[in-house]
Amino acid sequence: MSARQHAGRRMGDHLILAAVMVLALLWIAPLAWVFALSFKPNAFLAQHTDVVLGAPYTLKNYTDILGTSSVFRWIANSCIVSVTQTLLTLVLCSLAGYGFARTAFPGQKALYVFVLAGLAVPEQAVVIPLHRLFADLDLHNTYSGLILPRLAAPFGVFLMTQYFKAIPKDIEEAALLDSTPRWKIFLRIVLPLSIPAQATLGIFTFLTAWNDYLWPLISASKPDMYTLTLGLAATQSNFAQSEGIGYLMAQAVFAGLPIFVIYLFFQKHIVSAVAGTTVR
């Protein structure tokens, strides 16, 4: 009886596993295609784009990138913007979250609701006023211009507030009795205990910043200030004058490398961040 149940469950597991594998293959197919095309001569691709595995091969697309493209500049811009934005978001959201979770001040609840209301404001609705504001401040085509508007992160504040609230109060009280000043409780007790939430928020912020398109499109009009997404999009829309599909694909592969490397390092945290669980 129990053996049959066991077999039944095993059977179900296998079916799910098979389905997941099919989905994964479907998902990875276009990526594999991009990867394969990046090794083909542009002239060949002008006629066929369906030959994935067969000859001819070339590394010319990659050497071209290394030689001529602005892709490095764009990657550097994306790195500067994403890393700075991630770090500042973590600092701001942690501080704000701790304030909301653990201190009492008049109007605290109203302020918290006000911050959360930011979740309901669609990006497109504020893009024009933001554009005007940054034009007036003369901040377009600067890193500050790319980073600052994204630092208002209601979701991050919400996430950190909830996480801090869930840390048992008596741990902080024990620290108070241990003569720990408030700032030290925050730095030495609360922050280390919130690493899972920091990782989640950091990964989401980084990925969102890396993939961001709308705001950089508005703020960065000089190719020198393009982020990677912007640069690649510009190259694509210039398809007529572009150096060819293979070159484009090589750029895309190149652009994906940093994210791939980050994924290798933070795999455990990314999976749990996306699955909504915490790493211990």
Partner: protein
């Protein structure tokens, strides 16, 4: 080592008064236990002493100094929490060292104290572990160790044993008693478990709704409960209460008629008691024994054989149920008709206000 004084301490949350006015002098070196039912304000009181909760009015003095406005870290106290409250990301050693480093104790001295505490609490092999790698009992010992290394003026404990299983609770209780004998530091201990209170305390403060019901040594409180609340709260099984009406005073002691119509001679001096029309007689199971010659009769329904003694639950003729004690090998069986003997000197009388009168 420090005494603690609470002077006119009052606590309210918004409009609700949790502690009306509390006055208490905790002597230096004593083991004082706050005992009371859930929600009576024990933790609130302890947290006010610790400085984790502000007082609404009144004054708290530790070691003669007014600390009412001082931060928790400035009060020279150590506290052990119910849920251990260890720092989860630090090792056992770091947990103990953290508070000492905050007040700049030299590293060599920190090491010395940790080594000594670890030996005393049998934590020697575990100093490099994180709390998650310890059992509940070990975690509680680390929490106690973290308090001990501070060498504080007084220890505060908020139900530190309630998360442990019965066997471990007994062992840790004995360890705490030993710790007190050894350190002789003031200890303030909060619990709702009367066995813990009776075994650990040099003095018990029984609390009810934010007020002191009675203060005294465990034996005083057991022998001479000041009120019906205390009488019912202390002792297991709980004291039997039977409605009683005073009849003629025989000799110098009050005689009462119990609810089932039988009369009972008590040891309570006549002139002591108020002449209330209605009283309640209280007697513990151990002073209520089986005696077939007694006119107070009832039917035994449940027999609990505890090994060293036997508890007999008896339903009196008026339907009232009491618990009596019989010899461990007593042949009494469920359904037997039994007589109950009251030891007059251990019968307490309670007036309508709940105040107690005892045999001289």
């Amino acid at each position: 080592m420090a005494g603690i004084q609470l002077v006119g301490v009052n606590k309210r949350y918004g409009g609700t008064e949790i502690i009306p006015e509390f006055n208490l002098e905790i002597e230096s070196g004593e083991f004082l236990v706050f005992l009371g039912p859930s929600g009576c304000g024990k933790s609130t009181l302890l947290r006010m002493i610790a400085g984790l909760e502000p007082v609404s009015a009144g004054q708290i003095r530790i070691g003669g100094q007014d600390v009412t406005a001082s931060a928790p870290g400035e009060r020279d106290l150590a506290m052990v929490f119910q849920h251990y409250a260890l720092y989860p990301h630090m090792t056992v050693r770091e947990n103990m060292a953290f508070g000492l480093r905050n007040v700049n104790v030299p590293a060599a001295e920190i090491d010395r104290r940790i080594t000594e505490a670890a030996r005393m609490l049998e934590l020697e092999g575990m100093l490099a572990r994180k709390p998650i790698q310890l059992s509940g009992g070990q975690r509680q010992r680390v929490a106690i160790g973290r308090a001990v290394v501070k060498e504080p003026g007084a220890f505060l404990f908020d139900e530190p044993l309630s998360n442990l299983d019965a066997a471990l609770r007994n062992r840790t209780r004995v360890e705490l008693a030993r710790l007190h004998q050894r350190l002789k530091t003031t200890m303030v201990f909060v619990t709702h478990d009367q066995v813990e209170a009776m075994t650990l305390a040099s003095r018990i403060v029984v609390m009810n709704r934010g007020r002191i019901e009675q203060m005294g040594t465990p034996i005083e409180i057991y022998r001479k409960p000041a009120t019906r609340f205390v009488a019912g709260f202390i002792g297991s099984p709980a004291m039997n209460f039977i409605d009683a009406i005073p009849v003629a005073a025989e000799a110098d002691c009050i005689k009462v008629r119990l609810a089932d119509g039988t009369e009972l001679q008590t040891g309570v001096p006549t002139q002591a008691a108020r002449k209330d029309a209605k009283l309640v007689a209280g007697v513990r199971a151990e002073s209520l024994t089986l005696d077939d010659a007694s006119p107070v009769r009832g039917r035994a329904d449940v027999i609990e054989r505890l090994g060293e003694r036997t508890l007999v639950y008896v339903t009196l003729s008026n339907g009232h149920s009491v618990v009596a004690q019989a010899h461990r090998e007593s042949p009494v069986a469920s359904g037997d008709l039994v007589g109950l003997h009251f030891e007059p000197e251990h019968v307490h009388l309670f007036d309508e206000a709940g105040l107690a009168w005892h045999a001289a």
